[in-house]
């Protein structure tokens, strides 16, 4: 079946190659007009049989986004959701079984150079100039340079050439992907149970919360969270918390084993739901958390704060990239999809889950003023705030923890990362877990 449809695609492409190209040229001229209302019907004939398979993690592979894209674009977008390691595995081993990679930025280091993805010419991406400068230039709007600790998006966004098989040191005409989603993570706390204000990452390992702290059960992110805490407490100073040397890993793991032995950690969590339940049940009062998990605790009527900390946030992001095998019409459809994806609807959708869009000003067009002010402006909610599915998230009057977009994203201390010494880190992490 699949082979058949691929064959007929190719046939169609050959037959109509000339007309398609000329039409696309026309289409891009009217693209400004077309961006939000579907695309010129003249070439809808060519694309209506195209299906793009978008594969990503639960964070971003969201079915209603695919439905809206199918409605707006004239071709079909299918969404497939798989958990982290499994999706990475699929990208690496079966890259031709999907068309659109929706990739956690730290995983780009696994994927670039593996003949899985192809680069995107900057010229194909309509909203490059409006994309958050943190991604495009590695700096904040006020010109301050952003942290490059960990897998900073700026350091992996550019490829050396159209094949996209090598990272470039600085800006080039080729992108490994276009930035779609980002956020700043910090510790979640139960303000009613901590018994005192929490203001530093060091509180994660403070004896005050003995037996009431939790960590993410994931070598790369878990170790960065502890490194933030250890550095904040003053035990160690890291060269780069997101890319430690062996020596730094050894020292960190040794400290972590001591902390674990003292009974600091109640649990390690591996899934969103676990983190919510640990917090909601009061088993844990301080832990690394995701923004929607904090909200999920709060919607149960239980106080929970995504606590801003003096040392800054741990940042992360996702990019969208075409798989290697896309050519011709399908590749053109990918470019249309990517420009649609950053044109506002998906950005607004994920904004209501607490994440930021790669092009905030486009997301704004699809948010009510009250939503924009709450999620991006850090202002008290003018109306009740609902999640993308219409469920109440926050009562009017409350404001978002951490404040405005740039108060949060402007204070990234380290990015989620895959370290050069990840092989060694995995071994040592296993030792830590079993100790």
């Amino acid at each position: 079946m699949a082979a058949n449809s691929k064959g007929s695609d190719a046939g169609r492409m050959r037959k109509r190659a000339i007309t398609r190209r000329s039409l696309l040229r026309g289409a891009s001229a009217t693209a400004g007009l077309a961006a939000f209302n579907g695309f010129p019907t003249v070439w809808a004939q060519n694309i209506k049989d195209v299906t793009l398979l978008h594969a990503g993690t639960p964070v971003s592979a969201i079915q209603p986004i695919a439905d809206q894209a199918t409605k707006d674009l004239g071709f079909t977008v299918k969404m497939q959701m798989t958990e982290n390691a499994d999706i990475l595995n699929r990208y690496l081993s079966q890259s031709s079984s999907m068309d659109v990679g929706d990739i956690s930025i730290m995983y780009l280091r696994y994927l670039v150079g593996r003949n899985v993805l192809q680069a995107i010419p900057v010229s194909k991406y309509k909203f490059w100039d409006q994309t958050i400068p943190l991604f495009t230039k590695g700096e904040y709007p006020d010109g301050r340079k952003a942290s490059l600790q960990g897998t900073a998006p700026f350091s992996v966004l550019f490829a050396t050439g159209p094949d996209g098989q090598k990272f470039a040191d600085g800006p080039t005409e080729w992108l490994t992907g276009i930035p779609t989603i980002t956020n700043a993570d910090t510790l979640g706390i139960r303000p009613d149970l901590t018994g005192r204000p929490v203001s530093s990452w060091a509180d994660l390992i403070s004896p005050d919360f003995k037996g009431k702290a939790a960590l993410q059960d994931n070598p790369t992110i878990g170790v960065i969270d502890v490194a933030m805490a250890i550095e904040a407490r003053g035990d160690l100073k890291y060269h780069n918390k997101g890319n430690m040397t062996r020596d730094e890993i050894d020292k960190t793991i040794a400290l972590m084993m001591d902390i674990k032995k003292s009974g600091q950690f109640r649990s390690f969590w591996a899934s969103f739901d676990q983190s919510v339940n640990l917090m909601a049940s009061g088993e844990v009062v301080i832990q690394s958390m995701w923004s929607p998990a904090v909200t999920a605790v709060r919607t149960r009527g239980i106080p929970c704060t995504f606590q801003p900390l003096t040392e800054g946030y741990r940042g992360w992001g996702y990019t969208l990239a075409p798989m290697k095998h896309l050519t011709g019409l399908k590749l053109d459809c990918f470019y249309e999809y990517m420009n649609w994806y950053t044109s506002g609807f998906p950005g607004a959708f994920i904004a209501r889950e607490g994440y930021y869009a790669g092009v905030p000003e486009n997301a704004k067009k699809f948010l009510t003023p009250a939503e924009w002010d709450y999620w991006y402006g850090g202002k008290p909610a003018a109306t009740d705030i609902v999640d993308p599915y219409g469920k109440l998230m926050e009562k009017a009057g409350r404001s978002r923890d951490g404040g405005t977009f740039w108060e949060r994203m402007g204070n990234i201390a380290v990015w989620n990362s895959v370290m050069d010494e990840d092989r060694y880190l995995t071994r040592r992490w296993n030792e830590f877990i079993t100790s």
């Binding site: 595995n89 037996g211 088993e283 990840d422 995995t426």
Partner: protein, 307 residues
């Protein structure tokens, strides 16, 4: 008995119909008989295992795995303190859980077979044992969390009754929680085979023992236990291999603070480190195979099953 008589009859009828006299040699018949299972085992077990074996000698880095023949993966596996710790910890869990489920399983089976009088009642009680197992193991595991938690049902009961003044923390995210869950999950695996073996014991034997003046204890140790040996061995095998191969229960109920052999393997897979994960899997397979062989050596399950 009636079915086999019927089968004989059918065969006789066939012979009388003078079907073509094509007969496979008994040798070929045996091969044909084992071939479906053999095929499944070869495709789903033997081939993947060979693949793991091959990959376990490969080299790797972040961007790929490279055909090679190096012992680094095994050396790293066998020299880190992690390995011995997880094997000891898994063995400890296996032995504790085995002992508890054996005692529980034996007495539950004994009750069902020798004390319940009517077959109807026995069927109902068996069903009651089995019904919880219609839900998935994951759900039965997670269900313990709200019960054992710091503010969970059990702690609240204890505090209401005034037995403790502070909630007991060791109930959840601890070895205790892991063992409770294992026992809950695996006791039935012990009950089934033992009950099966006990059901085959001729009640006349027990009467004979009683007539010969044996005490209940002596009947138990000299008649029932020896005759239930197969069931005990089979149940032990099931429980033992389940615990050694577990990943989910240890991870969930210890709150990720204890590791099992499989969970270290899983961490490696999550980090895309397939060669060391393969080496880890090979060592686990070898280890469990040796343990199982040892048990089989103590009780020849095959011989007992045939008789």
């Amino acid at each position: 008995v009636t079915t086999s008589e019927r089968a004989v009859e059918v065969t006789r009828e066939r012979r009388q119909l003078k079907l073509p006299a094509f007969r496979l040699s008994p040798y070929a018949v045996s091969w044909l008989q084992v071939s479906p299972l053999a095929l499944v085992l070869i495709v789903l077990f033997a081939l993947p295992t060979v693949l793991f074996l091959v990959i376990s000698f490969f080299d790797y880095d972040r961007t790929g795995i490279y055909p090679a023949f190096i012992f680094d993966n095994y050396r790293e596996l066998l020299t880190t303190p992690t390995t011995i710790r997880v094997y000891l910890s898994s063995l400890r869990f296996a032995v504790i859980v085995w002992a508890i489920t054996l005692v529980l399983g034996f007495f539950i089976a004994h009750f069902l077979i020798f004390h319940v009088r009517t077959g109807m009642m026995r069927a109902v009680l068996f069903l009651l044992c089995a019904i919880p197992f219609l839900t998935s193991g994951i759900i039965r595991t997670i269900a313990w969390i709200p019960f054992l938690g710091r503010n969970g049902a059990f702690n609240q009961i204890l505090m209401k009754l005034g037995i403790v003044s502070h909630p007991l923390d060791f109930l959840l995210f601890s070895d205790f929680a892991v063992i409770v869950t294992y026992v809950h999950l695996f006791t039935l695996l012990m009950v089934g085979p033992i009950a099966n073996a006990m059901a085959k014991i001729d009640p006349a034997l027990l009467e004979a023992a009683r007539d010969a003046g044996a005490s209940r204890w002596r009947t138990m140790t000299e008649v029932i236990i020896p005759l239930s040996k197969t069931g005990i061995a089979l149940g032990s095998l099931l429980v033992f291999t389940q615990v050694m191969g577990d990943y989910f229960v240890v991870k969930t109920m210890s709150g990720g603070q204890s590791a099992s052999i499989v969970s270290t393997l899983s961490t490696e897979i999550q980090a895309m480190q397939y060669p060391p994960a393969s080496a880890n899997a090979m060592v686990l397979v070898a280890f469990v195979a040796i343990m199982v062989a040892a048990m089989m050596w103590i009780v020849d399950v095959r011989k007992e099953l045939v008789s």
